[in-house]
């Protein structure tokens, strides 16, 4: 339930119709009505286009995951005057991948492990700490977090701030006071399970998933009750249909997928129990179809010879009912994944004219290097086009949905296979794209990396890595390691591309002012022209940026842009975890590609907030 202050705020917002009616009623009725209004009010929050009210309630902004804000005070014409308004040190030294939230006059920030939550009062013009909540996660969780001890943000609904901790708890705190409302343990760090993703709240369901695809963790997405934290359902990515919540409603588009228990039969005996398919990425929601969309991570181990078969449903996309978790369709992007091409990237829900027909589509810039445009009602692939340099596959057959592989790049036990592009983090990893309806372009932050691999036999020991692959990464063609691609999903082509020396590991943000924001690992926060990609403004922060920029309207009516710096993540672990580049295989081979990063940035997380003068 929202607090009194919020009800008062809402009350004062000028909905006189309700006010008049209430005035005529008795006290008892007033209470009842308030309850109803509050319920309607929170729903209104959820469905309104993001940012119209100047808030940012979930990591991706809106349910469609567009990361587009209609705020337009900051424009391509005036963004050159943007300057820091205030900043705030989180005290954290590891990779800061989170998006801040803005609810009313408060900003909420979650740090990487130890997952401290700050509520910052925006009323005084800066950020004054209103409260601080310390969940004190188990320290041992740090040792099983594959790729730095990151957290990708919180979600807000109904007066609650909900977030995950590295030791696999989901926690709801009172948004006004920071008091813990519930705390649900969902996973076992002793089995390698952690949680790093940002929850999505749909009505009274909190959707969360686990991490640990490099430790033989069995992946799942869970639906929790927003009021109590009780687990309503849990949908595994592997195993028998009843565990995957595949039932009568399941109707995948491709006939080959309409076979029972593929989560068991596409694996060697029992291998699905330790087969990965974790859910540490993004979830979108279509209220009209009442479907949530989420991806699943890579199969384990990386060594593909130890898991012959398609390994369903790893590296896939699911459409599910949020209330029950029931699967409605699924599509596997990378069957029998060979290169750690997790399928957990974001799905942007758009209505587009494809070949002259209005379609409800889901756009997925995937780790395997293709932008998939899919019919989100049916799971049909409408187009799949490479947006980066890809030599591991030769295209997607639209009749069968099958990715056609280049056999030359298949890992061979004990042999070094060279020049595999994209590398294990994919053409694009978790870093979320932004969409502008004004330009019709999707702004995709990504990397340009290739790798050499040698697969080796590996044994499963609970709570330790289950990988079986020696990896060494390096820059792809052109020598630059990062790109921002403005992708036109209707014509399936890039409108323009920007090159960056380091992988672009931050999220993107698009605004109605036709400005696109993103950050770089060498500490630049940049604003580019949404139409042309021209660099309009940049500011050098304290540490490299791998966070998700957001924008909001402050209590003073001004538009602000906020982003966390604090280098780290898989790409930045060389700095945040003090790794030694003399071992080119450190951080699963990423360190080799990042040897020069320590010369550009040190660690440490700071929130930066920018405004026009």
């Amino acid at each position: 339930m929202p607090g009194a202050q919020e009800i008062v705020d809402w009350w004062n917002a000028g909905r006189r119709r309700h006010r008049r009616r209430v005035a005529a009623l008795g006290v008892a009725l007033l209470v009842a009505l308030l309850t109803i209004i509050v319920a309607v009010h929170s729903d209104h929050h959820a469905l309104a286009a993001v940012g119209e009210d100047g808030q940012w309630l979930r990591a991706a902004g809106d349910y469609a995951s567009t990361r587009y804000s209609p705020l337009a005070q900051i424009t391509a014409a005036n963004v050159r005057q943007l300057r820091p308004a205030w900043s705030f040190s989180t005290g954290g030294a590891r990779g800061h991948e989170a998006a801040p939230l803005v609810v009313g006059d408060t900003m909420y920030v979650v740090t990487p492990y130890p997952n401290v939550v700050y509520a910052l009062d925006l009323r005084a013009g800066g950020g004054t700490v209103r409260w601080k909540y310390e969940p004190k996660p188990a320290a041992a969780a740090q040792g099983v977090a594959c790729c730095d001890v990151v957290n990708r943000g919180a979600a807000y609904a109904d007066g609650r701030v909900v977030f995950n901790t590295l030791d696999a708890h989901t926690i709801a705190v009172d948004a006004r006071t920071g008091r813990e409302l519930w705390n649900t343990k969902l996973g076992e760090i002793n089995r390698g399970e952690t949680m790093t993703m940002a929850p999505l709240i749909v009505r009274d369901r909190v959707l969360v998933g686990n991490s640990g695809g490099e430790l033989g963790v069995r992946g799942w997405l869970a639906g929790l009750d927003l009021a109590t934290g009780a687990v309503a359902w849990r949908a595994y990515s592997t195993g028998p249909d009843r565990d995957v919540l595949i039932g009568r409603a399941f109707r995948p588009f491709y006939a080959a997928d309409r076979v029972p228990n593929l989560g068991v039969t596409t694996w060697p005996a029992e291998a699905w129990r330790i087969g990965g398919g974790t859910m540490w990425g993004w979830i979108s929601y279509d209220p009209e179809l009442d479907l949530v969309y989420h991806g699943t991570g890579n199969p384990g181990p990386w060594n593909p010879d130890q898991r012959p078969g398609d390994n369903k449903w790893t590296s896939a996309i699911f459409a599910r009912r949020p209330a029950t978790g029931e699967a409605v369709w699924a599509y596997q992007l990378s069957p029998h994944d060979l290169h750690d091409y997790d399928g957990i990237n974001e799905q942007i829900l758009l209505d587009l004219d494809i070949k002259g027909r209005r379609r409800k589509v889901l756009v997925r810039p995937d780790r395997n290097g293709y932008v998939y445009v899919m019919d989100r009602a049916t799971g049909e692939v409408l187009s799949a086009t490479p947006f980066a340099h890809v030599n591991t596959s030769k295209g997607v057959d639209l009749a069968t949905g099958q990715l056609s592989l280049n056999d030359e790049k298949t890992p061979v036990l004990g042999k070094v296979v060279r020049d595999i592009c994209p590398a294990a983090p994919g053409a694009k990893d978790w870093q979320p794209s932004a969409w502008s309806p004004r330009t019709g372009l999707l702004y995709v932050p990504h990397q340009n990396l290739c790798m050499d691999v040698e697969s080796v036999e590996t044994g499963y020991i609970a709570g330790t890595p289950f990988v079986g692959m020696n990896v060494r990464m390096y820059s792809g063609p052109g020598g630059h390691r990062g790109e921002v691609t403005a992708w036109d999903p209707v014509n399936a082509r890039a409108a323009w591309k920007l090159k960056e020396p380091f992988p672009v590991w931050s999220g993107a943000l698009a605004t109605a002012g036709d400005v696109v924001f993103y950050g770089t690992m060498d500490r630049w926060f940049k604003a580019v022209d949404a139409k042309t990609g021209e660099l309009l403004w940049r500011f050098q922060t304290a540490s490299g940026i791998i966070g998700q920029p957001i924008t909001y309207r402050g209590p003073d009516g001004k538009q602000y842009v906020a982003v966390l710096d604090g280098v780290g993540g898989w790409a930045g672990a060389i700095v945040s975890a003090d790794l030694d580049p003399r071992d080119t295989g450190a951080a699963l081979g990423f360190v080799n590609a990042m040897r020069d990063l320590p010369a550009h940035t040190a660690k440490g997380g700071t929130l930066w907030v920018f405004a026009l003068p």
Partner: protein, 167 residues
């Protein structure tokens, strides 16, 4: 051909014997070591023994140490080939790290690995930063070359940093 191979084997064995018999050399003491030291033999029987260290290198992979520490450069766990030690570089410190685990995510392998193997691991871990004698350190790897061999490593001067330095 087989006679040549046999001869080579004998030569190798002799060399190994020779190396085993050499005197154990002391390493530079680490500064700021934790005061609590588990009572263990102060000398690691595997330390001056090339074969034992080679065993340690294989065990390092078999027990998935490499999954967390990579080939010494680190990942989920800290780098082991550098000069910085969170819990001390002496054989008994490394032994304790492996057997008892460490709070920020180092699993306790005690009871799961025979003591002999732990000491082999200790000697190998210390070889990564050149804390063992040059001539007993592994000169090659069975795998894709991702770093110079342990033998080619110039010894680091170990520094013990407070574990709290790793938030």
């Amino acid at each position: 051909m087989s006679r040549v191979a046999a001869l080579a084997c004998v030569m190798l064995a002799l060399v190994a014997c020779e190396r085993e018999h050499r005197r154990f050399s002391e390493v530079a003491p680490a500064s700021g070591r934790p005061t609590h030291v588990t009572p263990q033999p102060s000398r690691n029987p595997a330390e001056g023994n090339a074969w034992a260290i080679a065993q340690g290198k294989q065990l390092y992979e078999a027990y998935n140490c490499n999954g967390c520490h990579a080939n010494g450069g680190g990942g989920m766990g800290p780098a082991l080939m550098d000069a910085t030690w969170l819990y001390g570089s002496e054989p008994q410190d490394v032994y304790t790290s492996i057997v008892e685990g460490r709070p920020n995510g180092m699993p306790a392998f005690g009871g799961r690995i025979p003591d002999v193997q732990v000491w082999q691991l200790v000697a190998y871990v210390r070889s990564m930063s050149g804390q063992t004698r040059f001539d007993v350190r592994p000169a090659r790897s069975d795998h894709m070359r991702v770093k110079e061999s342990e033998q080619a490593r110039r010894p680091e001067r170990p520094v013990t940093a407070a574990p709290s330095g790793r938030p």
